[in-house]
Subunit: 457 residues, 2 copies
């Protein structure tokens, strides 16, 4: 492609995106495609010779866009809603053009240093200890797996050489994200050694139950090594009592990992810092700018105050990657599994500068306010009940009827294409779930989803 052609198609793509972002509502938030429909519409074989970009862009609009679930749609209120943003998109565009790779400092000084700079800014903005170490992974699942691996290393430094010893135990609440359990499986501790700690009526880990489980495991000759607390669980956004859990971790010398993948962004707004009390006592913490900081997938920030443990667990320097030691030339490959590292910090830097801390905090505040208002509306309708507290921007509730009736409400609402809400299971019953987190979502969208739900009864 000549520079002129790139310019032409680049402008055309920018125009398409400008229109798309200006009104994502032109598309239904959930597509109407059936499984396999896109696959069947595409050629069974890749082309032998090149095709013109006009044809590709036309197919993009004709086939790909209608098969997208539109995460950038203001009616997206499922899972944890999020959005990309113009500065994030431009940052990603430049990162793709530079194609930097920060596996070692020398292979990408800017990749490595900007990652450290943006994560330092993030620690300052969130009130996390400034001397912690940070690195960016693709997802919180990968971050949490590294936390469990670090806990294993801290509990038994021979793990690296001899393999995961038998009897290590990892704890998280019944409401913790599945990735903690998956990480426990991945690093060879095993699902039988993953304890789901009971929660209280508000879905928060019960620290007494945690302590009791630890005591039981110790009495059985097992070796507790890690507790994963969650600030903002995936189903209900409940907040585990981190100070009490930190006490227990200190008493038993366990690695404390905090999963703040969703809620962590709220630390940017001081009035929400209450939820993060005790997090400064953690050994590691994960939060996802790609969830609530307007950052395109993927960008998950992993912090630890004990980077030397990660290094001990993972550093392996082959001859073809040896570089002279320098105290300020960090080789990020030493801290985990992935070797190649794309320039994820660039988009984060663009976003942090474009919005500023206060600009981002203001968006989050508004999302929480919208959710609180909707919670009051739900409470005021006798046909509905909330099924969990609403500390932040996600609301769990149900129609006072059968699970099937609730599922039908969800289906009818989602079938409109105007909104996308998800569901979860609480106390053995199906709950509807609305998560507000898209920057385009305003009071009119929240009013509309509530209207659609009431109409669907």
């Amino acid at each position: 492609m000549t520079p002129e052609e790139f310019r032409r198609y680049g402008y055309q793509t920018i125009d398409w995106i400008a229109d798309y972002l200006a009104r994502p509502e032109r598309y239904p938030v959930l597509p109407s495609v059936k499984p396999g429909q896109l696959t069947d519409a595409l050629p069974a074989r890749g082309p032998e010779f090149g095709e013109p970009m006009d044809a590709i862009l036309a197919d993009f609009e004709r086939l790909i866009v209608p098969a997208m679930t539109h995460w950038n749609h203001p009616g997206f209120m499922a899972y944890f809603a999020n959005s990309s943003s113009e500065p994030g998109i431009l940052g990603e565009l430049l990162a793709a053009a530079l194609n930097g790779n920060g596996m070692v400092w020398k292979s990408g000084p800017a990749v490595v240093e900007l990652e450290q700079v943006t994560l330092r800014w993030l620690r300052q903005w969130t009130g996390l200890p400034e001397d912690w170490f940070g690195t960016i992974y693709d997802t919180a699942s990968v971050g949490s797996m590294h936390a469990v691996a670090a806990a294993r290393e801290a509990a038994d430094p021979d793990s690296r050489t001899r393999g995961t010893p038998p009897g290590l135990v990892v704890y998280a609440s019944e409401q913790a994200h599945s990735s903690v359990e998956k990480g426990t499986i991945a690093v060879g501790i095993g699902q039988d050694n993953f304890r789901k700690v009971p929660v209280d009526a508000e879905f928060r880990m019960n620290p007494d139950a945690l302590a009791a489980l630890i005591e039981r495991d110790l009495a059985a000759g097992l070796r507790p090594c890690c507790v994963a607390a969650t600030v903002g669980t995936t189903s209900t956004t409940s907040v585990d009592p981190v100070p009490a859990i930190a006490d227990i971790c200190e008493r038993y010398k366990l690695w404390l990992h905090v999963d703040a993948a969703y809620a962590g962004s709220l630390m940017l707004a001081p009035e929400f810092r209450w939820a993060f009390a005790g997090c400064d006592r953690a050994d590691s913490l994960v939060m996802n700018p790609h969830k609530w900081l307007m950052t395109p997938m993927d960008c998950s920030a992993f912090f630890t105050r004990r980077p030397e443990i990660l290094r001990n667990a993972f550093s392996l320097i082959p001859p073809y990657l040896r570089t002279p030691d320098h105290p300020r030339a960090l080789n990020l490959m030493d801290y985990g599994v992935p070797l190649g590292r794309r320039f994820r910090a660039l988009k984060l830097w663009f976003i942090m500068r474009t919005y500023g801390r206060e600009g981002l905090a203001e968006i989050l505040r508004e999302h929480v306010r919208l959710a609180q208002d909707l919670a009051l509306e739900i409470d005021a309708d006798p046909r509905f009940e909330r099924t969990a507290p609403t500390p932040f921007s996600a609301i769990c509730f149900r129609y006072k009827g059968t699970d099937d009736e609730n599922r039908q409400i969800q289906e009818r609402v989602n079938a409109t294409g105007e909104v996308f809400i998800s569901g979860t299971e609480l106390h053995g019953r199906f709950s509807l779930r609305i998560a507000i987190g898209n920057r385009g979502t305003g009071s009119e969208h929240v009013a509309r989803v509530w209207e659609l739900i009431r109409e669907a009864v």
Copy 2:
């Protein structure tokens, strides 16, 4: 940012990229920054309030670009050289704008299906079995870790619940990439149970030595579970004898993983298929479009003929992600550690269509031809010697002098800013290493690096 502002800054960014790609040589391939220099040039704290995009883009040019190692520079001949391409950049731009997330089918039908379609095309283009399953990870390191985890699961289905059993053993050659060893550490098998199989004079795994190690381990009561063969090792691009290794794996019922991260792309050109004989007998194989298929970081293709093993190892479906079963609605989260998945297939689709199989093959052929020509030149100069065969596009060689003299040559050459070559250690001595893989690299760049090297003696 208003749509008009996005359009303006978007055009400006596209213009910058068009100019950058038209002449990346305007920048030195290796930057002259010192460790910490960029960090010190950036504010110690992130901004409280937003800043204008003009300022951010200006800082990008003033501070970030001069601190980049330019992987898109035609003089980049270190590690495995690669490049992004215009269609890949446009695909990445659109992926960032759509911000899709393919954790389950419903959350991104196009994300999930296009990944399957492009990987199917890739299997056809490479001659790999069409019925294999494929998924995209960020890096080959993560792919290889999943291969070792699958091998663990296949060897002992109780691993998932009880943890990694003691005594499992993983084998790879002395020349295998460090990620196989790292994956063995990560999944809890342990470095002591990782065997570095000796290689022959041409750096290929010795299958007799492999069989002998397996027999020794069996006699010691250990449980061999996995062999990782490499087609195109990282130091010398040597090719392990996969057919003989596959025989051994079948005899002992071991998981055969093939690391073809670099060379795998060459399967697109039929004349290189010899190097991949036996790969159709593997249990898993990894190849990186982000290495040699003009794809911006990151995009690593992982194939397996036994996806049910990965599923058994990793599937965990929490209530908030339950979706109705449908045979064509794949939930990719079930096959590994990462839950969130960005739309990596979009750029790959743009690239596969823009170039076609033959267009990509032709670029690779030319790179190999350039490397072969340079190898002949090196052979013809009595002051130098090649230190390994050159089957593909990477050349290992040395000045017939001390290691220090060779290191000085490397430093002098790299200090010109015109080229970036790396080094490695072979038979205990330092070798220079030139890897050709940037789409802009032509005979003039290869002539120039050879000229610079001879001048540096």
